[in-house]
């Protein structure tokens, strides 16, 4: 086990509306990322798109995670990255 915590900024231009819309997108994103093999924790802030992810570096590389974001139509930017275990 080698857990790393990363904070990403995920943005998408197509949600101009209400909280319902933002919650909806965040919910989908959260599920999609959580199902990746090796990802143990995901928290998506529904408005800012700030996403905190904890993952096992022996099971998945960060680029795989960001690739998933991109496939889902998000632009990602890594804010911080630290080893926590």
């Amino acid at each position: 086990m080698n857990i790393e915590k990363v904070i990403l900024n995920a943005s998408k231009t197509d949600c101009t509306g209400c909280s319902t819309c933002a919650d909806f997108k965040a919910d989908n994103l959260q599920h999609a990322i959580a199902r990746l093999n090796g990802v143990s924790k995901v928290k998506v802030d529904e408005i800012t798109g700030k996403t905190t992810i904890e993952y096992d570096t022996q099971k998945i590389v960060l680029s795989k995670i960001t690739e998933r974001f991109e496939k889902l139509g998000y632009k990602v930017e890594i804010v911080s990255r630290e080893e926590i275990q």
Binding site: D14, T20, R68
Partner: protein, 641 residues
């Protein structure tokens, strides 16, 4: 689940505090007024989710109903606590303002929670798929069976699947025999037989026998996982119609600023400060940009979710809009409208020989041949439970047939075997069958024809219905094939397509699609691999039988995971319905906003009524969109264009 529970608890708590705050002034308790204010303020504070949304959306320049609500509630609270007239006329009105803000917060929070729940349900289709893949697998390691988490299973290992269990991996059957229900992947609900050498998919149900499977793909690499990811990605791709909704919401803030400040100014000079304030608050509360912006994405997600439950993958909102306009569907013939491999469809016999004799001798001669026609004959013999001994000797003559011996019997197979004596009767029969586009194989025993085997590529069981469904929908149909005119005509007649075009080379198919596109919106249905260029040139490319072929799924706009062609009609019908609903929702939300805003501006609504209206508008749009998830294919007779 826990979060939803938390949401409901918050709504209930807020309601209870608001209620207590409103009731206490009527009692004899000491400091009733102060307690009431305190309780009401707590109630308002419990709506923190609204303000959090409101404030942060402001920071990110997103205009939301929560932003307006936050401003309105803030104004009401301040008014309730500070307005001199309220304290001058006693405490009743001050509490009135506060109570109203608590009720408003309650309704909005309840609305948000309900919307969250409905939207969460939209994911339902996907969740069902996800649940189908087991989290653990029984693996044989060092001669022992161990249960391990699925992400620890490695390629090349052997997993054991008991009857009644879901298969955890994509792989090949090493031993065992069973029937497997592959409905999750192909939508086909009739189980199919699996035995040594057959491929299995993760997430399918092993019914009655134990299987040992060599692992080829695990976890995220399985076909099921790819499908889930595709659906997730498709749901995120917006439909062009959303741009209209987005444009409205962009104008929302300037319009609202103008409307609310004019209402305030106008009522300030006519009705005074307090009434002006109340009206402005009402205007802010009634505005519901949410209904406009949520209408399309929820409908897109629900439609794609619905399609995936029917083994159809629509790869994004754009394709929903294209699908609804389709006026002509072009089908590839071989492997699409037909099964794609020759089968024995008829056996004619002469003299005292039976059907079984004819097939038996033909099968003996063809036993070791790899020719597709031989395979059809051997398959027929197996189907008839015939025992096929080895031929004594055999010789395949390319382009002509087979010359074989079985004991002292001389077997000749094929149209061009010159030694065969073909009777006038047999010759007439063969010419007739050939004119129907089928292939005839005469079987001769000691040079005399004993029977004729008729082989043809057969039409799929549901091709006819698929075409009929499209016709009822008012969609034209065409068949494009590289095959000869005779065969094409025969198949076209059987399935009932409006037009057919034969002897087309792959690049001619592409060009022909271009021709059809003049005046039509064309969907092309093919296998997705050989037809990839034609699919790409059409307005909407359908790949059929796409499960297990990543290439086919990749190239298509719509992938039919199984080989049920009736799904083409369903995809079009569903898209029409979905698009109408999106359009309807946008128009409805727009009118709703205008009407509610006018009512508020002219003082016909109070703040509580305003917020009830706004939430009702938004929730009805969300429900209306989410209901697309429940849509089902109609029986043939009920389809209307």
């Amino acid at each position: 689940m826990i979060e939803q529970f938390k949401g409901v608890v918050l709504v209930i708590l807020l309601g209870l505090f608001a209620l207590a705050g409103a009731l206490i002034p009527g009692t004899q308790i000491a400091y009733a007024h102060e307690i009431s204010i305190a309780l009401t303020l707590i109630a308002v504070a419990l709506g923190y989710r609204i303000y959090r949304h409101g404030i942060r959306s402001l920071l990110h320049k997103n205009i939301t109903a929560q932003l307006f609500a936050t401003i309105a509630i803030f104004i009401s609270v301040i008014a309730g606590l500070l307005i001199p007239s309220a304290s001058a006329t006693g405490t009743a009105e001050a509490v009135g303002y506060l109570t109203a803000s608590a009720i408003v917060a309650f309704i909005i929070l309840a609305g948000m929670t309900l919307e969250d729940y409905i939207i969460h349900r939209t994911r339902g289709a996907l969740e069902t798929l996800i649940k189908m893949s087991p989290k653990t697998a029984r693996v044989r390691r060092d001669g022992k069976e161990v249960q391990v988490p699925i992400d620890e299973v490695k390629k090349g290992e052997i997993v054991l699947v008991k009857p009644g269990d879901n298969i955890p991996v994509d792989g090949t059957v090493l031993s065992g025999h069973s029937t497997v229900n592959q409905a999750t992947i192909t939508g086909e609900s009739i189980p199919i037989e699996k035995t040594v050498g057959d491929r299995t998919f993760a997430g399918t149900l092993n019914e009655n026998g134990a299987l040992e499977i060599i692992v080829e793909k695990v976890a995220e690499d399985t076909t099921l996982a790819h499908l889930i990811q595709l659906v997730e990605e498709a749901q995120e791709k917006k439909a062009p119609i959303q741009n209209i909704a987005d444009r409205f919401t962009t104008y929302f803030l300037p319009i609202m600023t103008i409307v609310s400040s004019s209402v305030f100014v106008a009522s300030y000079f006519t009705l005074g400060f307090e009434a002006a304030l109340a009206r402005t608050v009402t205007v802010l509360l009634v505005a519901c940009p949410c209904a406009l912006s949520i209408a399309v994405p929820v409908a897109v997600a629900a439609t794609i979710g619905n399609a995936s439950m029917n083994a159809i993958i629509i790869k994004g909102g754009t394709h929903i809009e294209k699908l609804k306009d389709v006026t002509l569907v072009a089908f590839d013939k071989t492997g699409t409208l037909t099964i794609g491999e020759p089968r024995v469809v008829e056996v004619k016999t002469f003299g005292n020989y039976s059907e079984a004799d004819t097939i038996k001798y033909a099968a003996i001669a063809e036993k070791f041949s790899e020719h597709p026609l031989s395979k059809a004959i051997i398959a027929k013999a197996t189907e008839m439970n015939l025992k096929i001994p080895d031929p004594t000797d055999f010789k395949t003559i390319p382009g002509q047939g087979v010359d074989a011996h079985f004991g002292n019997k001389h077997i000749l197979i094929g149209r061009k075997m010159t030694e065969t004596i073909i009777s006038v009767e047999a010759n007439q029969l063969m010419s007739k069958v050939e004119s129907e586009g089928k292939t005839v194989i005469p079987v001769a025993l000691d040079k005399n024809v004993i029977g004729i085997i008729v082989v043809a590529d057969t039409v799929r069981a549901n091709s006819l219905e698929a075409i009929q469904r499209l016709k009822r929908l008012g969609v034209k149909t065409a068949m494009l094939t590289g095959d000869n005119v005779r065969t094409a005509k025969s198949i076209a007649g059987q399935v009932g397509v409006d037009e057919y075009h034969a002897e087309l080379l792959p690049e001619q198919k592409v060009a022909y699609i271009g021709e059809l596109k003049k005046g039509n919106v064309v969907a092309m249905v093919g296998d997705g691999v050989n037809d990839a260029p034609a699919l790409a040139n059409s307005d909407v490319g359908f790949a059929m039988g796409a499960a297990g072929s990543d290439v086919a799924i990749e190239t298509a706009d719509v992938a039919l995971l199984g080989d049920d062609l009736t799904k083409v009609e369903y995809a079009i019908s569903l898209s029409r319905k979905a698009f109408n609903r999106m359009k309807g929702n946008i128009v409805y939300a727009f009118i709703w906003n205008i009407v509610a805003l006018s009512l508020a501006a002219f003082g016909i609504l109070n703040p509580v009524l305003a917020v009830v209206l706004a939430e009702a508008g938004c929730i009805s749009v969300v429900i209306n969109s989410a209901l697309l998830l429940l849509s089902k294919p109609k029986p043939l007779a009920k389809i209307k264009g």
